[in-house]
């Protein structure tokens, strides 16, 4: 029995994830961050939607709500407007965050409501059979990109930064201790925080891209990113196709609901008049 077992709905195991899937590493990192911060299990709400990443939070022993594909951030926004004191964590995959829910991601970042979005990026739609995502790298193969991916890869971190997110970080499932720290910082941040987690899908992505060995895939993920410090040594051209790891944005801006309550002179239990 691990001291983190209390955060799991153990009666729901075994889980559905494939062997070698990296999502569990991301989820475990989130749980360690929650444990380290000492968040209350009753008032920390897990919001998720569809796909492999979207289904995983159901295994966690928190109040949880699983929405239609891409809508997690809208439901999370409603929870916060109703009860701002709740901690809300939204766990999403490539499709939820960057494709069908992309518009909600942009506007959540812009609005700056105090909640955390964790985006597990594995470049593929795993649950539905390996179709390409907006986050699939050009040239990679997917069940709907049998000739290779033509579209350029979306950088969700740059997107939310441009939209105004006040905390943006990228981590991966190789640098796990760093990931724990990033998620913990994101949850502690006042405002809308985003952590992109690079993870692997051996079954649907690896198999189609001549690398389905989980350990090899994780090694590849390790090579995908460099730290900001390492980036300082590189030219602008060299940096163009390299992803940065670590905290990418961390700034203080007025939080939406605090601002709302201030300028509207909001009173919680105001009576009818």
């Amino acid at each position: 029995m691990s001291k983190l077992d209390k955060y799991l709905r153990l009666d729901q195991f075994p889980h559905f994830a494939c062997s070698g899937c990296g999502h569990g590493i991301a989820l475990a990192s989130m749980i360690r961050a929650i444990d380290k911060l000492g968040l209350d299990q009753n008032t920390t709400i897990m919001v998720c939607a569809i796909g492999c990443a979207g289904r995983l939070p159901v295994y966690l022993n928190f109040p949880s709500i699983r929405t239609p594909h891409g809508r997690a951030l809208t439901i999370a926004t409603g929870i916060k407007l109703a009860t701002p004191k709740l901690k809300v964590i939204v766990f999403m995959g490539d499709g939820d965050a960057a494709a069908i829910g992309g518009n909600h991601l942009i506007h959540s970042a812009r609005r700056n409501i105090d909640m955390t979005a964790i985006i597990a990026i594995n470049e593929i739609y795993g649950m539905t059979g390996g179709q390409y995502a907006p986050t699939t790298k050009s040239g990679h193969f997917a069940s709907t990109a049998p000739f290779g991916m033509i579209e350029p890869q979306m950088d969700a971190c740059k997107l939310v930064e441009a939209a105004g997110a006040t905390f943006v970080a990228r981590g991966d499932i190789y640098h796990v201790i760093e990931l724990d720290r990033l998620i913990s910082k994101a949850i502690s941040h006042k405002g809308f925080s985003v952590v992109e987690v690079l993870t692997n899908c051996p079954t649907q992505f690896g198999r189609r891209n001549k690398n389905s060995k989980p350990s090899e895939m994780i090694k590849n993920i390790k090579e995908m990113t460099i730290t900001k410090k390492q980036a300082e040594q590189l030219s602008k051209e060299e940096l163009e196709h390299i992803l940065l790891r670590g905290i990418l944005v961390d700034k203080e801006c007025p939080e939406y609901i605090e601002e709302y309550d201030r300028i509207t002179n909001f009173k919680e239990e105001a009576s009818l008049k």
């Binding site: 709905r9 729901q12 299990q41 009753n42 008032t43 709400i45 919001v47 289904r55 159901v58 022993n61 928190f62 109040p63 949880s64 709500i65 699983r66 929405t67 239609p68 809508r71 951030l73 809208t74 439901i75 999370a76 926004t77 409603g78 929870i79 916060k80 407007l81 109703a82 009860t83 709740l86 518009n103 909600h104 942009i106 506007h107 609901i257 709302y260 309550d261 509207t264 002179n265 909001f266 009173k267 919680e268 239990e269 105001a270 009818l272 008049k273």
Partner: protein, 381 residues
């Protein structure tokens, strides 16, 4: 003491929602419903509530579902194009049994159609626009005063039966101004969802007692359970076992059946030995009623029936009238005769249904409906 106030239809909905205890409103601008969100954006904070304008109607209904899951009554206001976008999450709300209220001021469709013109063509979309089968209640007000009253009823029914309720108005009612009676707020019945839950160890969110209605305490209120749009059993956890699929779909779709009498509301006027009835709803009911009165003055006996609840459809009451009369005239502002179809389905040939459809974006005039009654009376229709 009630007081008399001059009010627009949209305003009545906004004011009544505040009285019902609504605390979160989310919306996206759309004609002819925008006044609702404009008014609530101004008034809600003083009532201990919050308004937000979202990036689209999908996000708006998402917000109100989230707010309601956290225990607060919530509303959104829209019209056809926005209502179409909401269908996905409307089905979700019905599936997970989170109460919400949607105000839809119907305008001319399809597509962009005509933003400032009325239509009554979202009747079927309200019930069947979302994939799969799930329950809804829809109420059709036909005056500003009734819009006020039914908005409170919408919240009450929604909370009581844990179901989405749609207030199905139209552009005429949305923008018309009438002098209405506002009841004293103490005299208004306000129903809140049940909170008498078992202790956490014994609690299963979708295990229902003999009421058939689940009790879902606010997210973050001390209970740890899962809400999911995937087929779920009593514990709320996804489960695709055949018996669970069967149970889940049956339960949500039958739960309103035993409350028919509490949910279904109609208005009717009956004449002895009448052979003709006029059935109309929403804004069309007013010229229809005028036409019926005119016919009665001319000595033609005509019954009048107005479904106030459109979903579930008042099939018992309509059938009862069909058993007495020969012909039922159904004037409505749509092309296909969406409610005429429901009437036919309900009465199973007991009477002949005569459609009168108007799709020009103009309201019905009393004379148009009156002339139709005359024709039916002469046997020409």
């Amino acid at each position: 003491m009630s007081k008399k106030v001059l009010m627009q239809g949209n305003q009545a909905v906004a004011e009544a929602a505040l009285v019902a205890g609504m605390k979160v409103c989310a919306g996206y601008p759309i004609t002819p419903a925008s006044e609702v969100v404009e008014i609530l954006s101004r008034k809600l904070p003083a009532y201990g509530g919050r308004f937000i304008q979202m990036e689209d109607e999908i996000a708006s209904i998402g917000v109100i579902i989230g707010a309601s899951a956290a225990g607060k009554k919530a509303i959104t206001a829209t019209s056809g194009p926005g209502f179409s976008l909401m269908q996905e999450l409307l089905g979700y709300a019905a599936m997970v049994e989170i109460p919400i209220v949607i105000y839809n001021a119907q305008r001319v469709g399809p597509s962009t159609g005509g933003a400032t013109k009325p239509q009554q063509a979202d009747i079927m979309q309200t019930k069947w626009g979302s994939h799969g089968e799930s329950p809804r209640i829809a109420l059709c007000p036909s005056s500003v005063e009734e819009a006020y009253k039914l908005t409170i009823t919408a919240f009450n029914l929604s909370e009581k039966y844990m179901v989405p309720v749609v207030i199905l108005a139209d552009e005429i009612l949305a923008h018309i101004r009438e002098s209405i009676n506002i009841p004293e707020s103490d005299s208004v019945e306000i129903i809140n969802r049940r909170t008498d839950v078992l202790p956490q160890e014994e609690y299963l969110p979708y295990k229902v007692d003999n009421t058939g209605i689940p009790i879902l305490p606010p997210l973050g209120g001390g209970y740890r359970y899962n809400i999911s749009g995937m087929i779920h059993g009593d514990n709320g956890i996804p489960n695709l076992a055949p018996e669970i699929i069967d149970y889940c779909i049956q339960r949500i779709n039958s739960k309103l059946k035993k409350y028919y009498n509490d949910i279904v509301m109609i208005e009717k006027m009956e004449e002895e030995n009448s052979k003709i009835a006029v059935l109309a709803y929403g804004s069309t009911a007013r010229p229809a009623k005028g036409a019926v009165r005119m016919a009665i003055e001319k000595g033609i006996k005509v019954d009048f029936i107005r479904p106030i609840t459109i979903w579930p459809f008042p099939e018992r009451e309509v059938r009862e009238i069909a058993c007495r009369v020969d012909k039922i005239l159904v004037p409505e502002m749509n092309f296909e005769g969406q409610v005429a179809g429901l009437v036919k389905q309900s009465i199973e040939g007991e009477a002949e249904v005569v459609q009168l459809n108007k799709i020009s974006g103009l309201p019905f005039y009393v004379e148009e409906i009156y002339h139709q009654i005359i024709k039916i009376n002469k046997g020409e229709k």
